[in-house]
């Protein structure tokens, strides 16, 4: 009998749900061991350390998902993640690897700030101003993605490299403006613009703790799902993603699809930047995003590029980030342990994906006739 590892020809559907769940469990299990060892150093007894770890895990799950205030934080954190992940999955469907979500988010925020503080200064109607600011941010994200799109379509450059590099350019633009010409004159020199005017702030609910950006994200998810399933665009884009040659032969303009997919992808991420400014930050600051654009890549991937699933996975990731803060705040865990935990989650998820691409095959060894 022989055990062979071989690549799966096609992954069964149930695995796409089972793999992430098992992976996250594996990460939680490994972290459980690490935390117990850590707490043993602090408390001294295994018994005490074990129950402290259990209580930390309770906190990790109950606060972000079952506590009113924790839920507010989770929803606030998930909004930018969801926007960028929605944008990215739109391009990924065509196997166009937009790694520039972070940069498009930044450019969206930049344009939103420009619109709210300078261009449309003086508009007092919230609906009008918010719409204009949102349009500006989406256009900025789209233009930022248009650069790699044109380069890919007409010069055959690799979009991964170009979109990634443009992230840094976008961050530097924002830094230049907040340290320089846009710095709030009344801000005591602190690097950041002035606050957005009242009418450019998104309406909030739950006592001002959650802004309506979450509904905009959900609306976009539904719209994108509709486009994917019910329209010619969705059908054609799948063909482009599966086989570019086949798409060309069937008369689909691949160049056009490449450009539009990247541009729409950037527009949604840019809109996310605008929403984050209007709903949460209310001013453009140095480093306002702690890497949302990169976390969103993982979210898009975990959600299997399905827009509705993106919303749920963003919710889970938002909660994970909030829960990690709680562990620091109430269990005195050092930030380095939190980083280990986040690394473990990613490691297990990616590892799980890789393993799921293979399967074990058990073969009975062939009888070799004795040769005597």
């Amino acid at each position: 009998m022989k055990i062979k590892i071989e690549k799966r020809l096609n992954t069964p559907r149930y695995l796409s749900l089972v793999v992430p769940v098992v992976s996250i469990f594996a990460a939680l299990l490994i972290m459980f061991v690490i935390l117990t060892i850590f707490f043993m150093g602090r408390i001294g007894s295994f018994q005490g350390a074990f129950s402290e770890t259990v209580s930390a895990y309770k906190e990790l799950i109950t606060w972000p998902f079952f506590n009113q205030y924790g839920l507010y934080s989770t929803i606030s954190k998930m909004v930018p993640l969801a926007f960028v992940a929605l944008g990215l999955s739109f391009a990924y469907k065509m196997k166009i690897w937009n790694i520039g979500g972070e940069g498009q988010l930044y450019m969206g925020a930049l344009a939103a700030t420009w619109a709210a503080l300078f261009v449309f200064r003086g508009i007092t109607s919230p609906i009008l101003l918010i719409t204009l600011v949102a349009i500006f941010s989406a256009i900025a994200g789209a233009l930022w993605a248009l650069i790699p799109a044109l380069m890919k379509a007409y010069a055959k450059t690799d979009e991964i490299v170009v979109t990634l590099m443009l992230n840094y350019v976008a961050i530097f633009w924002v830094d230049y403006l907040v340290y320089g010409p846009w710095r709030d004159p009344k801000g005591f020199g602190f690097p950041g613009t002035a606050a957005f005017p009242e009418p450019a702030m998104l309406p909030t609910f739950f006592d001002g703790n959650v802004h309506i950006g979450i509904f905009i994200a959900i609306a976009f998810a539904i719209l994108l799902q509709y486009i994917d399933v019910k329209t010619q665009w969705g059908f054609n884009s799948r063909i482009v993603g599966d086989n570019k040659k086949a798409a060309t032969y069937s008369g689909i303009k691949v160049k056009k699809y490449t450009i539009i997919s990247l541009v729409v992808s950037g527009a949604i991420a840019g809109l996310g930047g605008g929403v984050q400014m209007m709903g949460m930050q209310h001013r453009l600051m140095h480093g306002f995003s702690p890497g949302y654009g990169y976390t969103a890549i993982i979210i898009a991937w975990l959600a299997k590029l399905n827009p509705i699933a993106v919303i749920f996975v963003s919710f889970l990731f938002g909660g994970l980030l909030v829960g990690n803060d709680q562990l620091q705040m109430f269990y005195k865990l050092p930030i380095s342990l939190i980083s280990i935990f986040q690394g473990l989650v990613l490691f297990c998820l990616l590892g799980g994906e890789a393993i799921a691409a293979y399967r074990l095959k058990i073969e009975k060894a062939e009888e070799v006739p004795a040769n005597e």
Binding site: F188, F190, V322
Partner: protein, 350 residues
């Protein structure tokens, strides 16, 4: 009977007050192990726990980014009924203002800001005093007359520190110039070391700094030149380079602030403590000659006795304008919003 009940109720109330430990939280911008700014706040936190023992329960969180992200952290503590929350970085200001309005029973204490609410106070130290003293050391020790200063953000706190340092330098050495490089970080050892190296490359033989890490000190140590630290005694990081450092001593202040809250005597009156309050001070290593050290001690005395103010005229800015004439001195408001360099600083405000 009613009176008796009333008295009993009050007694019970007081008893419950003295039994329940005060819950205190600290929110830090960089890791506790930064060896500098956050490290010193955390030393203050440990001092507080030591001093008040059973009367306080203290929690901390490290590396919380500035800006709206911090809101959920402050809300998390406040919602759990913490009595007093210290936010130790400037960029938490707006988040703390917002959350403090939602949780009026919690006291918020913001380090280095300028906005207060009914239950939010501000506190900081007159770091410019020991900065001036460390400038005396640097000015006396430099031979190349090129002093490098690795600066954090171009905000008044940092600018004030550079100016005080430069005034100290010019007090003993009018020839020396202070060259400023911005890192735009609070804690990024790699970047801050590179910034120090760029200053060493133009011939600086003393390196001063504002960030939380000791990386600029190490850069000076490796080149065999001298350094002025910040926040804490950084001599362990650069034993052959480290001359002096203006330092923080938060412990006694944190004890007082928590006791004020416990006793109900807390107010949102801004607090700006100096050497005279033992909130800030200077440490010097053995590398500083006795003559220089004695000058520093003498100036320190006259600052404590209010006979000398580092920002007293005549002071000229970089463009040669007279900012403070003989006998004039900078007001607290002017110090808190400082956005210009004194004449012996080379470098620009971004």
């Amino acid at each position: 009977m009613k009176k008796l009940l009333f008295v009993l109720a009050i007694l019970l109330f007081v008893a419950s007050l003295s039994v329940a430990a005060t819950r205190v939280a600290f929110v830090y911008v960089s890791p506790v192990g930064d060896g500098g700014y956050t490290f010193m706040h955390d030393q203050g936190r440990l001092y507080l726990e030591e001093a008040l023992g059973e009367d306080v329960v203290v929690d901390i969180i490290e590396s919380v980014p500035e800006g709206a992200e911090a809101e959920s952290v402050f809300r998390g503590y406040a919602q759990r009924g913490y009595d007093i929350i210290f936010g130790t970085s400037f960029g938490y200001m707006d988040s703390m203002v917002k959350v403090s309005k939602q949780f009026p029973k919690t006291i918020f204490m913001h380090c280095s800001g300028y906005k207060t609410t009914d239950n939010m106070g501000v506190y900081f130290g007159r770091m410019y005093q020991p900065r001036f003293l460390s400038g005396l050391v640097a000015g006396a020790m430099t031979k190349s007359n090129i002093i490098g200063y690795v600066a954090a953000y171009p905000i008044p706190e940092v600018i004030r520190g550079i100016n005080a340092f430069a005034l100290g330098v010019s007090y003993v050495n009018p020839e020396a110039k202070i060259h400023v490089v911005w890192s735009n970080t609070w804690f990024d050892p790699t970047l801050e070391k590179d910034a120090a190296i760029s200053l060493l490359d133009i011939g600086a033989d003393v390196i001063a700094q504002h960030q939380d890490s000791a990386a600029p000190q190490q850069a000076a140590e490796e080149r065999g030149v001298m350094s002025i630290g910040y926040n804490s005694d950084m001599s362990a990081f650069a034993p052959n380079a480290f001359l002096a450092a203006p330092i923080w001593a938060w412990g006694p202040y944190y004890v007082k602030a928590v006791q004020d809250v416990q006793n109900g005597t807390w107010t949102n009156e801004p607090y700006w403590g100096g050497i005279e309050d033992e909130l800030v001070d200077i440490v010097m290593s053995d590398l500083v000659p006795a003559g220089v050290a004695n000058l520093v001690y003498a100036m320190r005395e006259s600052i404590i006795k209010n006979q000398f103010h580092p920002f007293q005229g005549p002071i000229y800015d970089q463009d040669g304008n007279l900012r403070y004439a003989e006998g004039e001195m900078a007001s607290d408001e002017e110090l808190l919003s400082m956005d210009w360099f004194v004449s012996n600083v080379v470098g620009r405000l971004q």
